[in-house]
């Protein structure tokens, strides 16, 4: 009775695909050995507990899953086997598909593009169209128009928070070599609100404050001076020049070129202009240096390279200079004023970090 009943129930309750092979085999076995049913059952039970030996002959009751084996080692072994089988099936499927594709030749359906986060990005309505007139008009009249029309030359003041430690000081010095016409000043407990008018009076165009926490730079305030926007970034992964492998010699005094990648939205555009205005308008190509601000998933990676063209299909780049990553935390309209300033954009963790595919820059 048991023998005949079990196969039927197996067919009905063939829920788990992975068990389809084994129940069928079991039914074959049982129908073959109709007499030794009791023996078979015990054998099956033994087989269940000896996964190493039981290859094709393994038979399990239908509602069995790997997680029910109490013995950890054996459970692990069974799981590994399961995984191997799945992998095998996957490879076979792949091979089949590849053969089909080759057989069809030109008529094969186009290759499927894998889904990446960049592909799946939620469309941001503030994405800038290159020919958008409104944006062009805005950019013609905003705070950077003076710079982009060639009227002003950038002059950058780099400073830190109170009592900077060695790493931050060295970072500031290296930044000063990377950005032409930059001056480093030691902050002696001055309030930023007092520093700003002094800078303006001395014709600085940018104020860059590196904030330090636990002997490591972790924040940056970039303030465009006459009355420009103030951006507050979180700085991470700072690598100084001596920590870089295969780096070149020190950067020279030539003004570098600037590459801004992936600043697509309106906010990204304004941040991009903020960075672009740090460097002088006309780069000196003789120097062959390039500073890159690359935005990827709201992280801005800064790199400084020296390039050389081997032929017109190949270029070699060698990293000089410090590298760091920035993440925008807030953008404020006027100069630095944390209490009464008008914030254009603030990072709200709860709202903005909830969706994996939504990015701001």
């Amino acid at each position: 009775m048991d023998i005949t009943e079990v196969p039927v129930s197996q067919d009905i309750t063939g829920k788990k695909k992975k068990k389809n092979k084994k129940p069928k085999k079991k039914s074959v076995n049982q129908e073959g050995n109709g007499e030794g049913s009791g023996v078979l059952k015990t054998e099956q039970k033994m087989e269940k507990s000896e996964p190493a030996g039981a290859a094709a002959g393994a038979a399990f009751p239908p509602t069995f899953s790997v997680s029910e084996i109490k013995n950890k080692q054996r459970r692990h072994l069974m799981f590994m086997k399961l995984k191997q089988e799945k992998r095998k099936q996957k490879m076979q499927l792949k091979k089949k598909k590849k053969k089909e594709r080759e057989a069809l030749g030109d008529k094969a359906p186009p290759k499927e593009v894998p889904k990446t986060i960049e592909n799946q990005r939620v469309y941001d309505e503030t994405t800038v169209d290159p020919e958008d007139e409104e944006v062009a008009f805005d950019e013609g009249t905003d705070e950077f128009s003076a710079y982009f029309n060639g009227l002003t030359n950038p002059k950058v003041l780099i400073t830190t928070s109170d009592r900077p430690r060695g790493r931050t000081v060295r970072f500031c010095e290296q930044l000063a070599t990377v950005i032409p016409n930059a001056h480093v000043y030691y902050r002696r407990g001055l309030a930023l609100k007092r520093v700003v008018p002094q800078c303006i009076s001395r014709n600085f165009t940018y104020l860059l404050v590196i904030n330090e926490d636990r002997k490591v730079p972790n924040g940056m305030v970039l303030c465009h001076l006459p009355d420009g926007p103030t951006a507050h970034f979180k700085v991470s992964s700072v690598k100084l020049r001596k920590e870089m492998k295969r780096r070149g010699k020190d950067p020279t005094e030539h003004s570098p070129e600037v590459i801004l990648n992936n600043f697509t939205t309106r906010l990204g555009h304004s941040i991009g202009r903020l960075f672009a205005a740090l460097f002088p308008q006309d780069p000196q190509f003789v120097g062959r240096q390039v500073a890159t601000f690359h935005n990827q998933r709201d992280f801005i990676f800064f790199r400084f390279h020296r390039y050389i063209f081997k032929n017109e299909k190949k270029v070699g780049i060698q990293e000089l200079g410090p590298r760091f990553t920035l993440k925008l935390r807030s953008l404020q309209k006027g100069t630095f004023d944390s209490k009464y300033g008008e914030y254009e954009w603030v990072l709200k963790r709860h709202d903005m970090d909830s969706c994996r595919r939504k990015f701001q820059l």
Partner: protein, 312 residues
């Protein structure tokens, strides 16, 4: 009765005093009414029935006095006098209240009062300076961000992006005349070569005569070929040039299609050479050199398929 000596005898040296804090070098007294903070016979507020202290509350200083007459009324034991905010006036007040009191207590009171005013002044100054705001970081969030950053870095492929951008800028001509790559001529030549080599594969089998005619037109190449055929044995090292890989396949196809006598193979050789010559239209020295390489490889490739065919 207040027996100060007895009290001190007990709590000071022999037995336990709950306000006493013992350290290696000194004993401190934690009693809030203690004037010096040390555990001494003269500073202990429990062991002195006549005692005075200065204490500060929310920026206001008070003089506390204890006299033996009130020892029986613990609730009213300490007399509290508010001191003026003016430093000198306050000192006078202390002197006035503690007149006829032991020198030690008067002196210590004034000292304590001075100290207290000094630290109150410092506190007021600090408030005016910039305050450091402490922002709590959530460990989970920071970890998440770090991981996201790593993934973004991998996805960014920075080196490739930078190289691409630089090459584009070169193409667009932002660098002007600094770099002297003859871009357009070279590209055109490459394109031509690609087109012609493709067309030649189709035409070779059918139109051999035409190719011969074209060979006649291009004397330079023909001459080179003859020279090379004689000198082929010398150039065994040139096999390693990569550019020949495409032509090798073409050669094999051609040779399989035609009959496999050596003479005809030689003809095919010349024809394929001719086709190659067609492909390389600009007659540069480099092109001739490349052709030389092709030629040798063709020759050597010849040997292999013939042996194969004979075997089969």
């Amino acid at each position: 009765m207040q027996h100060d000596d007895v009290i001190w005898d007990i709590i000071g040296n022999k037995q336990f005093c709950s306000f006493k804090v013992k350290t290696k070098s000194q004993n401190f007294c934690r009693n809030e009414y203690n004037i010096t903070g040390l555990c001494n016979r003269s500073s202990c507020p429990l062991a002195n029935s006549q005692y005075a202290t200065i204490r500060e509350e929310k920026g206001q200083c008070f003089l506390y006095m204890k006299v033996i007459e009130r020892a029986a009324f613990p609730a009213k034991m300490w007399e509290k006098v508010k001191l003026s905010k003016n430093y000198e006036k306050a000192l006078e007040q202390i002197d006035e209240s503690l007149i006829y009191w032991p020198r030690f207590i008067r002196h210590k009171c004034k000292q304590r009062f001075t100290k207290i005013t000094q630290y109150l002044i410092r506190m007021r100054k600090l408030v005016l300076k910039r305050q450091r705001k402490l922002v709590p970081l959530s460990r989970k969030v920071e970890k998440r961000e770090k991981r996201k950053e790593e993934k973004a870095l991998i996805a960014a492929q920075l080196d490739n992006a930078i190289e691409k951008e630089l090459l584009e800028r070169l193409k667009q001509g932002t660098y002007g005349d600094i770099y002297n790559f003859p871009i357009h001529a070279f590209d055109r030549a490459l394109e031509q070569q690609d087109e012609e080599s493709e067309s030649d594969e189709e035409e070779e089998e059918e139109e051999e005569e035409e190719e011969d005619d074209e060979d006649v037109g291009r004397r330079e190449f023909v001459v080179d070929e003859e020279v090379e055929e004689s000198d082929l044995s010398d150039f065994e090292d040139m096999n390693k040039l990569k550019t020949s890989s495409d032509e090798e396949e073409q050669d094999e196809e051609d040779e399989e299609s035609s009959e496999e006598e050596e003479e005809e193979e030689m003809e095919v050789e010349t024809q394929t050479k001719a086709s190659k010559s067609k492909g390389k239209s600009p007659a540069n020295g480099s092109v001739a050199r490349k052709k030389r390489a092709y030629v040798e490889i063709e020759y050597e490739q010849e040997a292999e398929p013939t042996t194969k065919s004979r075997a089969t």
